[in-house]
C-alpha cells in the first residue's frame, strides 16, 4: 500500500473542510463552526447567482427584452407573441420582496396566493392520478393465479392492505374482529417501519462511505 496525496488544491480544501465537519462527532468546536458558517454563506451566494442567471435572465428578462424589439412591439399578441405576459409573473416575483418593507408587506400575499393556488392544483391532480387511481387499480390483483407463490403473495398483500386500512378506521372502538384485524395491520405497519429504518441506516452509512472514499482515494490516494 502506498500514499499518492492529491496535488489538487480543491481536493485539499474539501478534505480539510470534511475533517472540520467530522470533528463535531467529538464535540462542538471552532473548526466545525467555521466550516458550517462557510457552507451557509457560500450556499446562499451560489443559489442567488444561480437563480439569477439560469431562471430570471433566460426565462424572464431575455424574452421580455426580445418582445420589445419584435415586429409589432410588445403588445403584438395578434402575431402570436405572448411574451409580454411574462411581466405579470415578474411583478408577482417582485412583490414577494415587499415583505422586507413592513408597511407594504401585505402585497407579498398576492404572490403567495398564486403560488399556493397553482401548487395545490398541480399536487391534487397529480396525486389523484398517480397515488390514488393507479394505486387502487394496482391493488385489485387476482388472488388465485394458478401457481402457489404468486397466489401466496397476492393473499398476503390483500390481508396487509385491508388490515392496515382497518387500523386507521377510528369510527368504532378497536375491539373484537376489528381489534384483531387492526392488530394484524399494526404488524404489517411495523414491518414497513422496520424496512424504512433499515433503508435510512443504509442511506446514512452510504454518506459516510462516500466521504471516507473521498478521503482515502481522492485525497490520500491510498492504493
Amino acid at each position: 500500500m502506498s500514499f499518492h496525496p492529491s496535488s489538487d488544491v480543491g481536493v485539499w480544501v474539501a478534505a480539510l473542510l470534511t475533517l472540520c465537519i467530522f470533528s463535531f462527532l467529538y464535540k462542538d468546536n471552532p473548526f466545525y463552526k467555521f466550516a458550517e458558517h462557510l457552507f451557509v454563506g457560500v450556499s446562499a451566494g451560489y443559489y442567488i447567482i444561480l437563480n439569477f442567471w439560469t431562471v430570471v435572465v433566460p426565462n424572464l428578462w431575455e424574452p421580455l427584452v426580445k418582445s420589445f424589439s419584435a415586429p409589432g412591439g410588445p403588445t403584438a399578441v395578434e402575431l402570436g407573441d405572448y411574451r409580454i405576459w411574462l411581466a405579470l409573473p415578474g411583478v408577482l416575483g417582485v412583490l414577494l420582496f415587499t415583505r422586507l418593507f413592513g408597511r407594504i408587506g401585505w402585497l407579498s400575499r398576492w404572490s403567495l396566493a398564486v403560488i399556493i393556488g397553482v401548487y395545490a392544483g398541480l399536487k391534487t391532480t397529480g396525486f389523484a392520478q398517480s397515488d390514488l387511481v393507479s394505486q387502487v387499480q394496482a391493488s385489485l390483483v387476482p388472488i388465485f393465479t394458478g401457481s402457489f407463490w404468486p397466489s401466496f403473495n397476492a393473499v398476503l398483500f390483500s390481508i396487509g392492505l385491508i388490515c392496515s386500512l382497518l387500523f386507521f378506521f377510528f369510527s368504532r372502538e378497536h375491539k373484537g374482529a376489528l381489534g384483531g384485524a387492526s392488530k394484524v395491520g399494526i404488524l404489517f405497519l411495523m414491518v414497513s417501519f422496520g424496512a424504512g429504518y433499515g433503508y435510512t441506516v443504509m442511506s446514512r452509512i452510504s454518506l459516510l462511505i462516500g466521504r471516507l472514499q473521498f478521503l482515502v482515494e481522492d485525497w490520500l490516494g491510498l492504493r
Partner: protein
C-alpha cells in the same frame, strides 16, 4: 450487572469510532462479498437495454452534493449504459445545488466514451419551479429551458432538433435525492403523459417508491448505494458503489448488534427493577 451499567452509560463517541473504523478498514483492505441483482434493478437495466439504438432519452438528475455517494455511481453507470447504446441524452436538473456536480458526471462519462456535447448529450441545467417546470416541459422543453448550462441557445443544438416535449422520449430516467424528484415525476409526468419511467433514488426514500414499482408506474428502481452496486454488477462494472458494499455490510451488522444490545440492556434493567 457491571456490563449492563457500562453499556447503558457508554459514551456514544465510541459507537461513532467503531462505525468509522468498520467503514474505513474495508475501504483500505477490501474483501470480496457476493452480490446478486434484484428484480427491480434488473428492471431498470432491461428498460434501457430494450431501447432502440440511437433513441433520445430524458434524464432528470435531481440531486446535489449531499446525495453524491449514492447518486453519483448510478448516474455514471446509467450514462455509460445509455451511451453504449448510442442513445442521445437530454439532462435536466431541478435541484439548485445540482447543476455543477451533475455536469461533472456528464463530462466524465462523455469524455470516457468519446461523446460530443450538443450532438450526443446536452445539459439543460437548473430551472426553479419544481412541479411547474415538469408540467411546462410537457408543452415545450426548449421554451422551458431556453438556454443550457453553458449559456447556449437550447433549440440550436443538433440533439434538440427532434425534441419537442415528453412525446419525443421513449424513456424517462429519474435520478433523484428527494423533492422535487421521482415522486413528482410519477405524479406530474408519468401519469399525465404516459411516458415509460425508471428511477434511481436514495436508500432513505426508496420504500416510498415500491408501490409505484408494483403498479408498473416505474419499470425499475435503484435504491441507494446497494441498488447502484447491483446495477454496476448487471453492467459488469466495478465502481464506487461496489467498493462501498463491504463497509456497508460491516456497518449494518454493527448497527444490528447495537439494536440487539440496546434492547438486551433495557430488558435486563426492567428485570432488575422488578426483582
Amino acid at each position: 450487572m457491571s456490563l449492563v451499567r457500562t453499556l447503558e452509560t457508554l459514551d456514544r463517541r465510541w459507537i461513532f469510532l467503531i462505525v468509522g473504523l468498520l467503514v474505513l478498514i474495508p475501504l483500505i483492505w477490501p474483501l470480496p462479498l457476493p452480490l446478486t441483482v434484484s428484480r427491480r434493478v434488473q428492471g431498470f437495466h432491461d428498460a434501457i437495454e430494450s431501447l432502440p439504438d440511437g433513441s433520445t432519452v430524458l434524464m432528470s438528475c435531481d440531486w446535489d452534493p449531499s446525495g453524491k455517494p449514492e447518486m453519483q455511481p448510478m448516474t455514471r453507470t446509467a450514462l455509460r449504459h445509455l451511451f453504449s447504446k448510442n442513445c442521445k441524452v437530454v439532462v435536466t436538473v431541478l435541484w439548485n445545488g445540482g447543476p455543477g456536480i451533475v455536469d461533472e458526471q456528464l463530462r466524465f462519462v462523455a469524455d470516457e466514451m468519446g461523446k460530443k456535447y450538443g450532438e450526443d448529450y446536452v445539459n439543460l441545467g437548473y430551472k426553479a419551479g419544481n412541479e411547474a417546470v415538469m408540467v411546462l416541459m410537457g408543452q415545450s422543453i426548449a421554451s422551458t429551458f431556453p438556454r443550457d448550462i453553458r449559456g447556449g441557445v437550447t433549440a440550436d443544438y443538433p440533439i434538440m432538433k427532434k425534441v419537442r416535449n415528453y412525446s419525443s422520449f421513449p424513456l424517462l430516467v429519474s435520478i433523484s435525492s428527494g423533492y422535487p424528484g421521482t415522486k413528482e415525476y410519477v405524479q406530474q409526468v408519468q401519469g399525465r403523459f404516459h411516458i415509460r419511467m425508471i428511477a434511481g433514488v436514495t436508500a432513505v426514500s426508496a420504500p416510498e417508491y415500491y408501490p409505484y414499482l408494483q403498479s408498473g408506474q416505474l419499470l425499475g428502481l435503484l435504491g441507494g448505494m446497494a441498488g447502484a452496486a447491483e446495477y454496476e454488477k448487471a453492467r459488469g462494472e466495478s465502481g464506487g458503489a461496489t467498493r462501498g458494499m463491504v463497509p456497508q455490510s460491516f456497518a449494518h451488522l454493527f448497527v444490528a448488534f447495537c439494536i440487539l444490545a440496546g434492547n438486551g440492556v433495557q430488558w435486563l434493567k426492567r428485570r432488575e427493577a422488578h426483582a
